[in-house]
Amino acid sequence: MSISRRVALGVAAPLLAIVFSLLVTSVVLLFTGAQPLETFQAMVQYAGRPRTQVLIINSATTYYFAAVAVAIGFRMNLFNIGVDGQYRLAALVSAALGGALHLPRVLHVGVVILSAMLVGAAWAGFAGYLKVRRGVSEVISTIMLNFVATAGIAYLLAPGRLAVTTQGSNNLGTRPIPESGQVGGLPLVPGTPLKVYGLVVLAVIVGAAFWFVINRTRFGFDLRATGMNEAAAVASGVDVRKMVVAAMVLSGAVAGLVGMPQLLGASYTYSLDFPAGLGFTGIAIALLGRNHPVGIAVGALLWGFLDNSSQILNLRDVPVEIVQITQGVIVLSVVVAYELVRRYRVSAVQRDVGRRLAESPPPGGDGPPAAAATQGAST
């Protein structure tokens, strides 16, 4: 199968899913009395504004970390639903640490980010440990650990513990991180004072590292092999227990980064209104992006677009929640579409191989045992 055809097949599924979900959304829009085409047009126009573009990129940066964290698990058939708890706990602890420290500029940022990764890794690694030692499904344990994290954060985020009160507000947050620990924005989009999160650079680096580790290293090979066929991986010498813990730790470490753009680039404090639920967004985007670093980037931008450009709908008296319908349908249909494309591809390759073998003699001339093989059979 040619490369162009492979790429076409790879893009076909998400494209189909998006078109299908737009159709469904249109139907819903019609029910609410809005004109679908006009609505979409308004969203696209709104997204064309520099300010919205910055917001889209900033959302996508955050989503990207969450989706990569989920994708690391997915590549090994591990379902890390706990990204949500991992990044919130990581953000809280690292925010408190960052607010309490006074360090030189680069070091300060490094300590905050590293501590967030460690907390995320530990929280996810615990689920990995439970799976390996106690046979607890990571699906169950990570969901449970989300609740534990929520409760733990509620306990810690109190005056006298990690939080301080701000005057004139009943919000609670950690002590703000001083300037030495902040990451400045990048003025990438002209025509707006808003800046893109500086940590967008880290997102690119994480994406590249993810691709390299998965595709080019022995560790990545073991991880993918375990995901594709655990029994064969075991027979090949992979220690699946170690791999489970390692994959969960890595996934959690990346999850720890989810809160960083917001923390180091915008709020500088972990407060009661710190964004929650990004871990679940990450699951959706990882599915949409097929656990591939580039696919995830596209998915994250699409999500950012839908989330931010939908704000215009308020002005047009269309409920903003319509976008969640679009997102939900995308995820559902993309799963179906991928499976259809996968099956089509497997049988297409088989037919292709059969045809090419039938029309050409075996490559490299006939070896001695070649004679009988064509009349054989498979069972």
């Binding site: 290293t217 022995r218 993918r224 027979a235 075996p362 045992p369």
Partner: protein, 527 residues
């Protein structure tokens, strides 16, 4: 090939036909699995279909059971020509199949398993009473007694098979396909099964019995169709043939012989296993006090009915399972506590029993499959990174040297036929100069040509000093390739056999434990 002689059938009148297959041809990538198959199954008979592993029996039965559609040819069931799109179609036409590997839910009761997918309902609830009554009725009528309320996980193999047959009968099957039904049974269970088959036959049902065990076929069948290299080569009555003649029909006149030439056994022990025992998680003994030695240049065969501990032995030697007690030495070094990876690095090759489950990444390209099992070694990996160029070049070498039929090393492993997948695995496991090869059914499901090639490869590697542990259900292969033979029964090695003098019949008897005395043990083990 045109329809040849419908063999001498002077039976009284035109017997009603249960199933008739005419001119069935089925192609798979790279191979024609079936071509011009003609079979006519008379109602109320046991019709055996025999052929070697890989001759195309299973493909044919999948065609008849609607699991795939033939490229050419017609199927007629009870005189009516049909097109089967799915097993559901086949079941609706009264054709049922009992698979070689049971498809039962262990944590369900017999009733639940039987009715699964065809549940009698009373309102919204499962009508257990009706189901139980019908199951007991089927049991009484055909001599298939099973406790309907027992959990399947508590049943023995013979009972599970009865449940499978009842399941098929429950759905109203009038023609039963039994795929290698005796492979997992002990002799008494085989007798019981045959008793049940006679009962079914007497009640007018038809049985298609797939096997390569010729003595069983001769004992139970009314008619026999022989399949070789994907096509029907003869239809005979058991009274007219001997097992020997049937075997000749199965493999053709020119039999590829697994015979090894002269002994290459050295007196250097490569693998020494001492008092090895293995216990299952629920405390059952899977292996008991295994003692064996394989020298460089020696093939040690393990004979035994499947499920008597052979797979467990291989997995323990590979380090996938942890032995309860005992020691394993490789080249004099104690490897008992080593991980699987370390053992593989030390030179243990592994040809798994189930290649798609344990030997391949089906959705990965061939060259990545070359890396599997050799992830820590050159030419696949260098300093923790996958060496794509090295792995690809070496994969191409295997494809060329081992005659793997593929257009490229970038196709997915799932695109290859079974025989070519097997050749890829054999080539991979022979790479990197292994010291010990654990070969479980190395030629299962491959065509005759590939089989001969794999035998040659094993012989060649043995001559260069490779130690081989060979497990096979093919007794000819075992006797022909092995320098020494041990018989395994219920997790124990119960007899030593000299492959130079033993006959398949004697070996078969020893395997079933009917005759595990010393009269076959003429001191086969060398040195």
């Amino acid at each position: 090939m045109s329809v040849d002689e419908q063999p001498a059938e002077p039976a009284a009148g035109p017997a009603p036909v249960a199933v008739e297959l005419r001119g069935i041809t089925k192609r798979f990538p790279g191979v024609v699995a079936n071509r011009d198959i003609d079979i006519r199954v008379t109602k109320g008979t046991v019709h055996a279909i025999v052929g070697e592993n890989g001759a195309g029996k299973s493909t044919l039965m999948k065609t008849l059971y609607g699991m795939h559609r033939p490229d050419e040819g017609t199927i007629a069931i009870e005189g009516e020509q049909v097109v089967l799109h799915s097993p559901a179609d086949a079941i609706a036409r009264g054709v049922g199949m009992v698979h070689q590997h049971f498809k039962l839910a262990d944590n369900f009761t017999v009733i639940e398993n039987v009715v699964l997918g065809a549940e009698p309902r009373r309102g919204l609830a499962l009508d257990v009473r009706t189901a139980r009554r019908r199951i007991l009725e089927i049991g009484r009528r055909y001599g298939l007694e099973v406790d309907p309320d027992a959990l399947v996980e508590d049943l023995g193999v013979g009972d599970r098979q009865r449940v499978e047959i009842i399941k098929v009968l429950y759905r109203g099957a009038r023609t039963l396909i039994l795929d290698e039904p005796t492979a997992v049974l002990v002799p008494q269970e085989v007798d019981e099964l045959f008793g049940a088959l006679r009962e079914l036959k007497a009640q007018g049902l038809s049985i298609i019995f797939i096997s390569h065990k010729l003595d069983e076929v001769l004992a139970v069948a009314d008619e026999i169709t022989v399949i070789r290299a994907g096509t029907t080569v003869a239809s005979v009555k058991p009274a007219d043939v001997t097992a020997r003649r049937l075997a000749e029909l199965m493999v053709g006149s020119e039999l590829p012989s697994p015979q090894t030439s002269e002994s290459t056994v050295t007196d250097v022990a490569e693998l020494v296993v001492a008092h090895l025992s293995l216990t299952s998680s629920d405390g059952r003994a899977l292996l008991q006090d295994i003692e064996l030695t394989i020298h460089r240049g020696e093939v040690l065969g393990i004979a035994g009915v499947e499920g008597n501990g052979q797979a467990e032995l291989v997995e323990t030697l590979l380090g996938i399972r942890q032995a309860a007690s005992g020691r394993v030495l490789l080249g004099g070094e104690d490897i008992t506590a080593w991980s699987t990876r370390r053992r593989r690095e030390a030179g243990i090759g592994y040809i798994p029993e189930d290649r798609t489950r344990h030997g391949l990444l089906l959705e990965a390209p061939l060259w990545e499959n070359r890396v599997l099992g050799h992830q820590t070694r050159r030419p696949n990996v260098r300093r923790g990174l996958v060496d794509r160029a090295g792995a690809r070049a070496d994969c191409q070498r295997i494809v060329d040297e081992y005659d793997v039929r593929t257009p490229s090393i970038d196709v997915l492993a799932s695109a290859l036929s079974g025989g070519n997948q097997q050749k890829l695995i054999v080539g991979r496991e022979m790479s990197g100069e292994p010291k010990l090869l654990l070969a479980a059914h190395p030629t299962r499901g491959v065509d005759v040509g590939a089989q001969a090639a794999i035998w040659d490869l094993l012989r060649g590697a043995r001559a260069k000093g490779l130690a081989v542990l060979l497990i096979s259900a093919d007794l000819e292969e075992l006797i022909g390739l092995s320098d020494s033979l041990k018989v395994m029964l219920r997790g124990r090695l119960v007899a030593d056999v000299d492959p130079a003098t033993v006959t398949p019949e004697q070996l078969g008897a020893a395997m079933t434990g009917a005759d595990a005395t010393t009269d076959v043990s003429t001191g086969g083990e060398a040195a």
